[in-house]
């Protein structure tokens, strides 16, 4: 079945961008210029990447709604949200550059919602001190990806749709830099070799490692896995964001996201006793910023500058845990969630029904069509859903280059900016800021280096391995993926414990063996069973990294909550956990000390705290 190397279709580019979400598109746009040829690969059709699903907004301290906002406040909010284990340099660059990146989108055709004086409107979101999220109703991701797509198609970028990269190729002779990638086209199932001087990974998240997730089938941690197996390091992998509000009912929509924008617009969380339980537990470091009464919280959502935020807009890690607490205590909703109520605002606003439909059109649509619930009249049932990974490929803050020369990463698959918890809206801005940077520096790298040498044997071997499932009559790969998702959900989920995670490590070993024996039927042409079999490798790799790092972090911080170590431990604020592959092919974990923060940044945090 295997064709030999001369038969592979080959493509050559200066810069190859893998992933066409916000980060990949932004990188490709930046990298492409008359002297630099750029190829852009994605697993789905163009414009369908995960970014399209983002709802609430993109965070940028433009100060259009509250002029007290500026990059320093955004920086400080991001660091506090991340519990100070963020890469401070990334947090700084992000806060400084996001406003310009958002403005640039407008020049490329984005049409954001407007303020009364005609500027880009910004909304409140959890952990952001001032209204900061530029948005378009609750379909901001669509606006962002479409704008980049429509701009990008005129930039001379070569787009390869429905192509999946299975291995990164390295030139062992020249310091181990990446020189290309082996991929297959989904339509025909044929292999392709992409030769490139620099590669940008922008492959998004890992949500598919869990049963309940807001992520699409694409979120299988491919970039994380590809980079790891090519010798790059992963960092902060224990920090998985469980978004507090996913749909819980009916069963088939479980996990689908309910934007935080609902709470930003005044939505409140209640248990089955009708109590706003979020007032019951407000973390000490947010006390000063949180409303004392529901009345004050409401005023905040309506733009009263003297009011403080309602506790529903505390950081996601905290809100998710409070919801779990209510459910476990038997105060949950009918189908095992809690209630999220935006309909109540009709007590406050005369035209509440229209207001909700205008501000949250796709939530209205989504609940009406999928759950038969009219959110302008009834409360929604919501519960935590696996949403985002703060951890990812370890990169240089300024250039986004990984520890492998020529290999760059941006967006959700890269790590550092978010620390232990990401604030809503900080991902879309991250995609733009670091996508731009990755594209810029990848192009520079490509211009400074000649094409490397691809090792034909390596290609043949990778292609042979990828075809193995066809030669076996083993287990159906869907079943293995399904069992992995259940295991990660149960044993390495929101609340973690030593013994359960040890059990997960053993489980992973067995799943790896099963994956090595799974078989697929049918032909190579557009065969989802085969694709699922190939995705398993990355899913298993990242699941192991998540579990190992989570085991090592014997404390609770941000998104990591340990039942056996429920308190935060100052010792763990000094380093991040890094995973890498040793010579024998085993995963290792080490502590990487945080770089000392410069005084002027320290001062910003102290002054604003």
């Amino acid at each position: 079945m295997a064709e030999n190397q001369s038969q592979y279709q080959t493509f050559e580019h200066d810069v190859l961008v893998i992933g066409a979400g916000g980060a990949g598109l932004r990188a490709a746009i930046e990298a492409s210029s008359p002297g630099v040829s750029v190829g852009l690969i994605c697993k789905s059709l163009l414009g369908k990447a995960h970014t399209v699903m983002a709802e609430g907004g993109v965070a940028a301290a433009r100060g259009n709604v509250d002029e007290r906002d500026n990059w320093q406040v955004h920086f400080s909010d991001t660091m506090r949200g991340g519990q100070y284990v963020n890469n401070w340099r990334m947090a700084e660059l992000h806060a400084r550059e996001a406003p310009a990146r958002v403005c640039e989108l407008e020049a490329w055709g984005a049409v954001f919602d407007r303020t009364a004086d005609g500027r880009i409107l910004q909304r409140n979101f959890g952990g952001h001190k001032y209204p900061r999220l530029a948005h378009v109703g609750d379909r901001t991701g669509l606006e962002l990806i479409r704008t980049l797509q429509d701009h990008g198609i005129h930039q001379g970028i070569e787009v390869y749709m429905e192509v999946t990269v299975v291995t990164l190729l390295r030139d062992v002779g020249s310091g181990g830099r990446v020189v290309g990638a082996l991929a297959y086209d989904r339509e025909r199932g044929r292999f392709r070799v992409y030769q490139a001087k620099a590669i940008v990974l922008a492959t998004g998240g890992v949500g598919r490692a869990y049963k309940i997730t807001s992520n699409s089938w694409e979120g299988t941690g491919d970039g994380h896995g590809l980079a790891y197996h090519a010798g790059a390091e992963l960092i902060d992998m224990e920090f998985i964001q469980f978004h507090p509000t996913g749909m819980v009912y009916p069963p088939s929509v479980r996990g689908i996201l309910v934007t935080e924008g609902v709470r930003g617009e005044g939505g409140v969380l209640k248990n089955n006793e009708g109590r706003r339980f979020m007032f019951d537990d407000i973390p000490a470091n947010y006390k000063d910023q949180t409303a004392d009464t529901p009345e004050e919280g409401w005023r905040y959502t309506q733009g009263d500058r003297e009011a403080r935020r309602p506790p529903e807009l505390l950081t996601r890690d905290h809100v998710a845990r409070c919801i779990v607490r209510e459910i476990k205590a038997g105060r949950g909703s009918e189908h095992g969630g809690v209630y999220l109520d935006i309909a109540w605002i009709k007590e406050k606003l005369p035209n509440a029904t229209d207001h909700i439909k205008r501000k949250l059109p796709s939530m209205y649509h989504q609940f009406k069509q999928l759950a038969g619930v009219d959110i302008t009249q009834q409360a929604m049932e919501v519960g935590p859903t696996t949403h985002y990974i703060m951890g990812g490929i370890r990169v240089d803050a300024d250039t986004q280059e990984s520890t492998v020369p020529g290999l760059f990463a941006a967006g959700e698959c890269a790590a550092g900016i978010n620390g232990a918890n990401r604030l809503g809206g900080n991902s879309l801005s991250d995609l733009l800021v670091f996508g731009q940077r990755a594209g810029h520096y990848a192009a520079k790298f490509a211009q400074a280096n000649s094409a490397g040498k691809i090792n034909g044997d390596e290609v043949d071997e990778a292609a042979r391995q990828a075809l193995e499932p066809f030669e076996r009559t083993g287990e159906n790969p869907y079943q293995i993926q399904h069992d992995l998702q259940n295991m990660m959900q149960d044993l390495v989920g929101i609340v973690r414990r030593e013994d359960e995670m040890q059990q997960a490590l053993e489980g992973l070993e067995k799943l790896c063996q099963r994956a090595g024996q799974c078989g697929v039927t049918g032909h190579r042409e557009f065969n989802p069973g085969w694709h699922t079999a190939l995705d398993l490798k990355n899913l298993l790799t990242i699941s192991e990294a998540i579990t190992r790092s989570a085991l090592e972090r014997k404390e609770s911080r941000g998104a990591q909550f340990r039942d056996d170590y429920p308190a935060k431990d100052a010792e763990y604020s000094k380093f991040n956990f890094v995973n890498w592959k040793d010579r024998e092919g085993n995963m290792q974990t080490r502590r990487e000390p945080l770089a000392p923060m410069p005084n002027e940044l320290k001062k910003i945090i102290e002054e604003l705290d």
Partner: protein, 264 residues
């Protein structure tokens, strides 16, 4: 199996029913409808059934999807002959006493099973002149626009590029005028650019001469299938047709236009 076991046991027990789905299997050369029977539960959509069938019986059944929430426009197909999103079509809105047919879109070349080659759409978009804004109004390099002036454009920008409107439009579906006519999706796209208050480009000549706006005879089938409820015909195509008429066929307006710039 995937869905059935993730359902809470109570709901599975209460709704342990099955339904049959007649799914088109095959490629451009040959193919036929194949019946699959799978468990159906409360709240399920057609895409859930397809996923069950993939996991249980037909792992190589080809089908596109991403968001499962009507946001990405990947899962377009024809359900009981009607172009719809698989992920937003609930089973309880369909008669389940007879097989539910699921077929690929008809206006594009078939690749395999439920997957068609939609590349033509991407090529069409490139032919439409890109956004070209006026210089920024404000000293900080940004623009001022009132919400009411962008409402219409925002309606068009809700488009998820599902191509259901392209599929249903007889000019493409029956007459195959793909070379002459860009289809409703791209008329909406052109309208979103033409009606953007910042844009300074002129696309009317292209619409008339190269994009075939004249082929549309306002049947409104496109509007009927749009999952985003975009009033494609009334709000996008008809106003564009009017502009084209004003620009090229109405002598009086043409005369007036000589003395007045077309755009603010």
């Amino acid at each position: 199996m995937a869905i059935a076991t993730t359902a809470t046991s109570a709901t599975t027990a209460a709704t342990a029913a099955t339904a049959t789905f007649s799914i088109w299997r095959g490629d451009a050369q040959t193919g036929q409808l194949v019946d699959y029977t799978t468990a159906v539960g409360e709240g399920m959509v057609v895409l859930d059934a397809v996923h069950n069938i993939q996991a249980e019986e037909a792992p190589d059944l080809a089908c596109r999807w991403n968001c499962k929430a009507g946001k990405c426009g990947s899962c377009s197909a024809e359900i009981n002959g009607v172009p719809r999103l698989l992920c937003m079509t609930r089973l309880d809105t369909l008669p389940l006493d007879k097989p539910v047919t699921i077929e690929p879109l008809k206006a594009f070349p078939l690749l395999k099973d439920l997957i068609t080659n939609v590349n033509w759409n991407y090529e069409v978009k490139k032919r439409i002149k890109k956004f070209n804004p006026r210089p920024p109004d404000a000293t900080d390099g940004t623009w001022r626009m009132q919400q009411k002036d962008v409402d219409r454009v925002q309606e068009f920008r809700k488009c998820i590029e599902c191509f259901l409107c392209q599929d249903v439009c007889h000019v493409l579906r029956e007459h195959h005028l793909h070379d002459e006519f860009i289809g409703p999706r791209y008329l909406v796209y052109a309208a979103s650019l033409e009606m953007n208050p910042l844009d300074t480009e002129d696309r009317l000549k292209d619409l008339k001469d190269n994009h075939g706006i004249g082929f549309c005879n306002i049947t409104k089938c496109c509007t009927t299938v749009c999952p985003e409820d975009i009033k494609i015909t009334d709000n996008a195509i008809i106003p564009l047709k009017e502009r084209v008429v004003d620009e090229f066929y109405d002598p009086l307006t043409k005369l007036v236009r000589l003395f007045r710039p077309r755009k603010k």
